[in-house]
Symmetry: none
Subunit: 227 residues, 4 copies
DNA sequence: AGTTAAACGAGACGGTACGTCATGTCTTATT
DNA sequence: AATAAGACATGACGTACCGTCTCGTTTAACT
């Protein structure tokens, strides 16, 4: 009897990972898991999420729309949030690779732009649902962090470390705190203020972050001109 | 048929405000709204929220625990989130008044400490539930922002404006962006990273915020001793 | 919280009986039980039983057909067999009163005719379902015996006692055994042999019962003209 | 695609019959039917029937307990009732042979005793389940009658015919009716009255059956000493 | 004092979804 | 070819809540 715990990173993936260890063959005894069903389920939830928040979608409805038995869903996913996450993961555009422009400020800005542009897209609206779900289901939270947030944080971390090495960012800062300072303002605006996060605001953020809020710390080094 | 819209700021409050305009008298014809019931309902949800997230609490359960008819709840609140918010509002400790220490940095730090300390407290855990609810119910979101977030933001805003006047913060920055930069990192850490936010981290944040990430922008002006 | 045990003779009846004791008023606190729903449920199962055996009817289907919530059924009846029994009871034609023809043999014959005629009717087909259910659910068995079988047995008992008094049946026989001998053959034919039980067979049964199987016990006393 | 109709007398038997025609060798192309599986299935259902009625046993459970694929059961039996009947048939003690005591009354009594003693035994409780099943599944009914009831009826018939020849039972009676009168009262008591059927009651039945209910039809011919 | 109109507790109701279980079919790998 | 293992669509299970709707009772304010 399989357990959800063992498959919480869910579905097909689990088998593929196993496969990569034991090589190619499926190895099971009984009937193989149906790819069509999985596909149908993930498509169904994507469509449904276009119309309403995850909270208002029932597993019953997903099954109905996908032409699939409820039990099949319960078997492979612990809750609808995980189904949504799987569906979301498939759609996830590849991350913007870190270009090394020589300027950490520019690199940060580019990463934030790409993230928050995605956030504003239809698929991206899901992010809010996921973050809401994180507040309720700790296990989901950790999965989501691992799957979605960590990779992004990693990108920023690379830029950060590089900037420190180059002397663009002073050393000795608590890295976790700094990374919170980079992503935090954007999330705050979208989740809590629920205001749009346009390009200009991102620019301002990064700039202010680098140069600090202090009034003209030294000479004509005014941070503005951000042209 | 009364409408929730007219009472979305809920319960007793509505009547009191009305009263303050039309003077004292209750004015109704029939039986008065029962204070015991309201009290019982709010107490019940508080108790229930100690054990489980709002999502797992049903109106049925609240009514049962409060010894109250379900209809009474439906009559005065549009959803359980509003009940929770009312209950939460009653418990809400008064805000830390803004002390003017002369240093905006210190003032900010103090405000953030008090907010995030509260966040860590038992009642404060509710904040996560509310923020989750915000992502799903726009009307609730706006109510919650009005009731809880705005007053806090206002405090920070006052400090900010004063600091600009005094020349501690350079003018010309987009104020909304800056306020996001002040609260954002803390929320990010708690909601998304779900890591504790201890005093030291707050100090680091505010400090880095003021002095910027840049490496030794000018002369010996090393930004604090955070070496 | 009411219990099924307290209402196993089910539904409306329970209240009426109570009413007959405490006089008229319904006395409940909340909303009254809906007569339309009960009516709809009983009608629905009757209709369904025309098409298929009780076993193949689901509570879901009854509810659907009756336009009623499943919970309403579960609330008032412990299982679908009880619903069927209630529906059946309503349809139950009044019993054939015992006519005193002076001949116990004739009285018996008349009672058996009326019973087995009913058995052959559309409603009567249900009897087989009920007897099947009796073999599985002991509580239902006792209810069905009380409601349906006992009244019939009582009729026969009266005839029997009268016949003994009159000297038409010899005294000293175990009455229960004799009553089994009166009903048993008919049930056996219908339930187990599953052959039709026509009038002539009933006549033969009663006659043979009275006169015994022995060959011409005495003089020309040939047992009727059953040549 | 094999059909159940062709194997409704089920399981092993089917093969044996085939074998008896095509001689000894299994003759099939692929793998032989597994005797272990059949054995395991029949044992499993027997065990399960000790705990609960047939209705509450699922094919799934039988397969699980027998360590057998569900499909194997579906392949060889049309429904669980047939499985149960097969299992029951194996256990079935041989019938009590008809001893010719010279007295039809005594012979009847002996046969009835043996039947109803079996009925009271653990395996015999199954009879009730089977008779319930008969009321719902006509095909099963006919199979069960053929397999179980007919042989018993045949025994009684032999006694009956012999008694008529010998002049112990008067001729001209409808034999089917009389056989119903012999078995009917016992079944009635067990299935419908659900009262125990002890030896004495059987004696009384047979006696009353022979001598009739009439009061002292002639001279001192009192029907046994059943005073 | 009598009338009227809310507000209330209780709770029944038609629904919808829950998460589980069994059905009977089908597929895969093994024997 | 027959199995065991087991995935699958289907659909019923019995429970829990939803939000609405009577009920009968209680409590003011207005006759």
């Amino acid at each position: 009897m399989q357990e959800h715990v063992a498959q919480h990173d869910v579905g097909r993936e689990a088998r593929q990972r196993t496969a990569s260890v034991e090589c190619v063959e499926p190895k099971h005894r009984g009937r193989q898991r149906s790819e069509e069903s999985e596909e149908a389920i993930l498509s169904a939830i994507i469509q449904l999420l276009r119309d309403k928040p995850l909270r208002d979608i029932s597993i019953e409805e997903i099954a109905r729309k996908a032409g699939v038995g409820k039990a099949t869903i319960y078997k492979w996913w612990p809750s609808k949030a995980y189904v949504a996450l799987d569906a979301f993961s498939r759609k996830l555009g590849q991350m913007v690779p870190i270009r090394d422009t020589g300027s950490a400020e520019r690199d940060f800005t580019e990463q934030l732009h790409s993230l928050f542009t995605f956030f504003g897209s239809p698929e991206g609206k899901l992010l809010r649902q996921f973050i809401a779900e994180m507040q309720v289901d700790a296990e989901f939270a950790s999965l989501f962090r691992e799957r979605f947030l960590k990779p992004r944080r990693e990108l920023i971390r690379v830029i950060y470390d590089r900037a420190v090495e180059r002397g663009q960012i002073r050393p000795g800062l608590d890295r976790d705190v700094v990374l919170d300072m980079i992503y935090g303002p954007g999330f705050h605006r979208m989740l809590i203020r629920q205001a749009p996060l346009e390009r200009k605001a991102v620019d301002t953020m990064v700039s202010a972050l680098f140069h600090g809020l202090r009034n003209a710390p030294t000479r004509g080094n005014r941070p503005r001109r951000r042209s």
